[in-house]
Each structure stands twice: as C-alpha cells, then as structure tokens.
Amino acid sequence: MSPYRTIETREAGDTFVVCVGGYLNNLLGEEVEKVVRAKLDDGVRRILINFQGTRMVNSIGISFVIGIVEKVMEQEGRMAFCALSRINCDLFRVTGLAKYVRSFETEKEALDYLSGNA
C-alpha cells in the first residue's frame, strides 16, 4: 500500500470500526469498501468509519464512501462517521452524505450512537 494510505480495522462490540489514514482516494476508497463489504457479508450490521487519520480526501474517495453507505443501507445496517475534519465535514455535506450518516466528534460518541445508547 502506498505511504499515503493506511487502513486499520477492529471490532468494538458488534460494531466494525475502520480507521482510515492518509489520502482517501480511489485506491483507499476501494480498500475500505472491500473490508466493509466483507464484514457485511459476515453479517455485521454496524459500521463506524473513523477519519481521524484522514488528511486528504478526493471526490473519488468520497464516491467510494457513498457506495459503502448505500451498501450498508441496503443491508439495513447502521453506520456512523467520527473525527471528521472541518473540510471533510463540508465535503460530506456537499455530497449529501451527511444526510444519511451521522458524524460524531469522538469514536466513543459514535459507538454509543451505533449501540443504541445515545
């Protein structure tokens, strides 16, 4: 993987957490989509994407995120974002993502929301 991209995954309870690091472009987007789709196929229905380490996003990267959101909704799963930078927030708003997926400042808030505690 390119030095501009890192991806870490872990499970927090029944939520699958994907930490996206670096530059979210088509390659990283594809990577994220792949791991999320695999988890959905495994029956996981709660997905949290942590953008803490995402320094740059491009429109293709966003299109993959949109694709992921669509998949999750198709599977009637729940999804959340956390630690979005202000610019990414704006971009998600522009692309309409914000309408479908809630964003939280911290991972904990997001996990609470996904587990139904919020």
């Binding site: 390119s2 501009y4 530059y23 472009n25 390659l27 740059m56 996003v57 491009n58 429109s59 293709i60 966003i62 299109s63 993959f64 949109i66 694709g67 669509e70 930078s85 202000r86 610019i87 704006d90 971009l91 522009v94 692309t95």
Partner: protein, 775 residues
Amino acid sequence: MRLFGTMGAETSFREEDFFGREEELSALTRAALEGSRGIGSSFMIYGPPNIGKTSLLLKLAKVLGASAGGNGLPRPFPLYFSFSQILSHPLALSQHFLQEFLSQLLRFLGDERPSAFDPAAMCDRLASFGVTGCREVLAAHERCTAEGDGLSALVNALSFPFSASGELFYPVFLFDDFQYTAKLQAVPEGAMLSILRPYIKSGHFPMFLSGSSPGRVTAALKREGLFGTFQMIEVGGLSTSSSVRLWGHLCERRRVDIPAALLPRASERLGGIPTYQRMLVEEIFFRGAKVPDAVTLENLYAVSVTEGKLNRYWREFFENTFPNRVRRGRAIRFLKRILCDRFPLDTMEGAISLMGASEEEGETILSALEFKGLLKADLDQLTFLGDPVLADFLYWAFERGVLGKGTSQVAAAIVQARLSHTAPEPGQGGDHARRVAIVKELMRKWDLREVPLLLLDFGMFREKFGGKGLLEVVIGMEREAVRVRLPKVSSVSTGYRASRGGPRFDFDLVAYGFLASDFSEENLVIWAVDAAVEKNLGARAVEHFENRCRLLALEKGLPHDRLRKWMIINETTDPAAIDLASRYGIHLSHPTQLRLFLNLFGLEEPDREPESAHSPGPDATSAGKTLEYELVLPIKADSEVVAARVAEEVAAFAAVDADTVDRIKMAIIEACINAFEHSASESGKVRLRYVLSPDKIELFVQDDGKGFRTGMTPEESKKNRGWGLKLIRELVDDVEIITGPDGTVVRMMIHLGGDSANPGTNQQEEGGSASPGER
C-alpha cells in the same frame, strides 16, 4: 549724426534690480581680475532668452568698473557691447564698436558722457590720459571704409582696445548676443573669434561671451580651437530666495502689496525670470490692482499674458521675427506643440515635418527661433527652450488664433489650469499612478507592432473569453486574426493637464505617434488615455472622457480618426458604459486585457499596492509582490498529492489558516484528478500555476486534453462519481473553466483576508466572468 551708445539693455539696466547670481558673479569677477596677472579665463554665458544674461553682464561691468587695480597693476576696463542691433554690415559694426570703445573708455577714466560723438576730440582727450594711437586707428578705419574693406575695418576696430591698453587698464570684453556675429555680411562665421583669438589665448584679456544660442557659438569656438579655453556658465531662473527679494524690491518701488506668502509661488509661476517679475509688478501697478490672494494674482497674471505687458512682450517678438502672418502662425503652432504639448523633437527633419512647411521655410523659422534662444542646436540635435510665460503666451496665441477664443476665455482657462493643479487629485493613489506609468512604458514600446484588437475591446473580449482562464485566453489571443496596428509612439506625456490647457484636457496620458515610420504630419496620431479611478466604470465617466477627447481633437486640429481614445478600466463596468464606449469608438481594456497586452511587450503588471487589511502574509506578500510557482505533473496515480503539497507551501506564504490550506489542497487535487481522468491528454502532463498576490491566491490547472468534465455521465452517477467541479466550487471562492481546442484551464481563486471561511459566498469577478456552469 547718428546717436551713439548702445541704446539697448544697458540703458534700461537698473543695478538695484539685480538680485541673486552671487556665485556666477564672483566667478566672473575673479576671472576678469586675474587678467591683470595673465591668468584670466574666458567664459561663455548661455541660457534661455530673458533669463538675465544681459543683466549679469551689465552687473559685472559695474562691479569691474568700480574695482580698483591693486599694487599699481592695470585695472580691468569692462567694455560691454551687444551685437543684437541689426548691424549686419561689418563697416557699420566696426564703426559702432569704435564709438562705443572710445566713449566707454572715457567714462571709465572719469569723464562725463560726451554730448555728441566727436572722434577727434575724444582721441585728444584720451591722449591726455596717456592713451595714445587713437588717431592712427581712426585714420586706418577711414581708409578701410573708403575702400569698402569691411573685414579689415573690423580687425582694426577690434584690435584697437588691446593695442591701447597698457599700465592704466586692460580691456575685458563683455560681448552680448554674440550669436548675431554669425550674421555679418561677407564675413565668414567665426571671423570675430579668429580676430580675437590671440588675445583670448594670452590670458591677459578675459572675455565674456553671452548668447542664447550657444550651439552656434560653441561650434565656432571648436572650429577656432578655442573651445577648451572657454568655461561655460549656464544662467537659469533666479533661486526662490533671490526671486522673492526681487519681488520685495519691485513691489516697494511700485508700492504694490503682494502678501509674502504668495511670492514663492509667483516666482515659480514666472520661472524665476526677473524681467517677467518686473513686467508683472508694473502691470499690477498700472492697473491699480490689489492682490489679496493667490486667485487675484493668478488672474492678474492671466490678464498680463493675454492682453497686458507679458503678452505684448512676446507678441512683439513674434510679429517682428515673423512679419508674414502665415509664417507666424506656423511658428506659433509649432512652438506650442513643442513647449506646451511637449512634443519631443530633436531632429531638423522632424521639426520641419511637424511644421508642415517647406524645408526652406522650416529652416528659416528654426533659425529665427535659434536666434532668440528658443532653440539650441548642437550638431544635429535640437533642444527647445521655453519658460512658463512663453508657454502661456503660446497657448493664448493658439487658442485665439486657431480656435477663435476670446481673450477672457483663454485667461480664464489659464487661471483655472493653474489653480486646479495646486492640490493632488483625490483618489489617484499609488495603484493608479503605477498603472499609468506602466501603460506609458507600454506605449513607448509599440513601435508599429500589430496586436489583436481584442486587447482594446472589452466588449468583444468578454464575449469571446468570458468565463475562460488566463492561459486559455493567451492561447486564444495568439490565434486572433483581427489585428490592429499600433503607432510608433514618439512621446507620451503624463499628467497632460499639468502642461497646458486645464481640466478640459485632463488626461492621464497623451501619446503622440506616427502610423508609419515616416515621421510626417499626415501619419500623426494622438492617443488620449485615461486609467479609470472608479472601481465600476459608469456611462458618465465614458461621456466625460469622450467630451474631453473631442476638445482635444479640436485643439489639435486632428481629423477624428487620428485621435485614439483608450480607457483602462478597473474591475467592473456598467453595460451602458460599454455600449457608449463602442458607439464613441473608445477602446476599453480590462486589467486582464492589460496584463495580456503587457505580456506581449515583455512587460509585467505593476505591483499592487498592499492594502493593510488585505495583507495577512509575511514579507513577500505584504510588500505587494506576486509570487508565482509553476509545476508540471505527469499524469499518474498520486501525483496530485505533489500538487497539493506545493499548494500547501504556497498557502504557507500567505499565512492563511489551516482550513483554507485544506481547501486549497482539496481544490487542486480535484482539478488535477479531473485533468488526469478526462483530458485524454496526449502529452501526459498537466501544468499547474500558483499565483499568490496580497489579496488572493490563484491556481491554474491546465491540460492539453478535451476538457473538464463538469457534469456526471450516467455511468458516473451509478458509481457516485462526478463530484469534482461541485466540490471545487465549494472549496474556492471563484472558478473558471476554459476549454478550447488546445485543452482546458481551470482557474481557481481564493480571496485572502475576505470571508474565506465561508466559501458559500462566492465572489465573481467581472471581466473574468463567471464559470460557464455545468455542461
């Protein structure tokens, strides 16, 4: 019997009216006194007419006449002689010279001025002082006269003072209006100097030649090998302090009261020329006028120059010099162009063609001007000299003679012109001045080149390139077929109003040019240029400009197509202003067009004045400089990251906040990937430019492909793609996309210091125009 004595300047010279020039006087006095020791130098005194050369010589004569020879050494005998009298025959001249010499010497030695010219009696009288040999010289002179041998008579007369000198005195010649010696009949030019040469060279007989046309005299000096022997002294206007003292003296004599605070300005008005000061004070005295303030003084001056003493002075000169009316008109019109309109000319051919006269007539006029000292001819180089009063007189003569204006109208214009220039124009800040300066430089470089007409036609330019970026426009311009031939500009005057004519002809620049390399009147074209001060050009400003242009065309007597009108506009224009300009044939250029225009001629846009509120950056940008980076990226994965990194560096220069840095980075990434994906570029490269100026950052992304994909294809929609342009619009303040046959340029702009945190408030630049929208 004819009266003797030079009935000229020296009879009207008042020593008490002489002020200032201490330095010149002391140098000349010292040189004259050093003649007694054989180390005296000779001087050539030159300067424009009326400046006070004659006064200086006469004052010197007084000083020397009063000096006592020390230690038994001979005293300097100053012999003032003016050649300006029309004594073109050498016999008459030598006769006159002898009379002057005898009479002045007798007075120098202590006699009263004799009541009549009696040479024999004078010779006897001189013999009693120990000056012998007079009778012999006179006898020789009579012989020469009888034989009609002018040259020998002249040699005889001019040598006489030297042979007569001895222990008592040595002659110091103060020759005024020396240029007239070239006019002597049947005597070669320079003969005078040949005769005087051994005496000048000796160091015992310092000589002071004065003349307002030093070119001829210095040429003669060079021919005689005397040039190195002479020192040159240029006489200019009086210093302000001397001039003010002279005002005081003149006003006291005439009991005229002018407030002291007005005097320095009045001096400047008259070019520090003592003669004019005297005339103006007399004018005020004869009119019994009170001068409480500057306006009254200006009015009195205008009256004097249009119908009073100052007018008469110059009118007589022109009437005497050019008795023929047509020729006089030609000379006045010509001189006005040079001195008032500052038409720069330095060749004979140029001058004659500007006069529109035959070569013979042109040379006659130039020669007459040279004799008055209004023209200095050194080799082939002509320099025209004038002063403020002459300029005003010429203006009057021109307005009255050519335009048929009444004297009072002209006087009013003169006053108004002067008063309106006392304070700097409001709203003409540094930016404006710089813009004018750069346009001036540009015009000087035109040199008959052809350029796209679009550079001068904002309406057409906007129609064709609206919504396109700079690089695209540059490419488009190169292919532009409709071209206009620019003139060869021979002069551009800045602040035209300051020279002549008042607010009516108030332009930022007036350029004189020729439409062909042939420097002739029928090729003359004048460009009147204004750089708009207002941000948004209104129809009224265009109307005002057109009115001034019409007056200028009338004043210059130019056919309509020979006056070109050009307005450099600011950011925006009213549509009505553009319509009006096109109706009047006024060229309009937007800053973008100007930038292209400058580039064509290898010039750069002037630096913008930093606006304190708009300069968040460190040194480079706050100094008003534009930083520019260029980057060529290969089309391959992740190379847009490099572009983003560079953008980050550029943004760091502007010291913008982190959020803006992110926006810039994202925007450039989007533009790059769009270019990578959609351009189908043949070169496989994308060119980027980052331009950082104090008030904005501009980013240009150019590819040589098919164009920017501004909308989503159905396939893209399926894949949630095609967000590029939408995001860019969100990220930056202004976007333009220009697609042409050679590729696409995306121009993105971020305003600095503005509301960059809220890019939703997109600002659009007129002229650059808005983006064309989704296609």
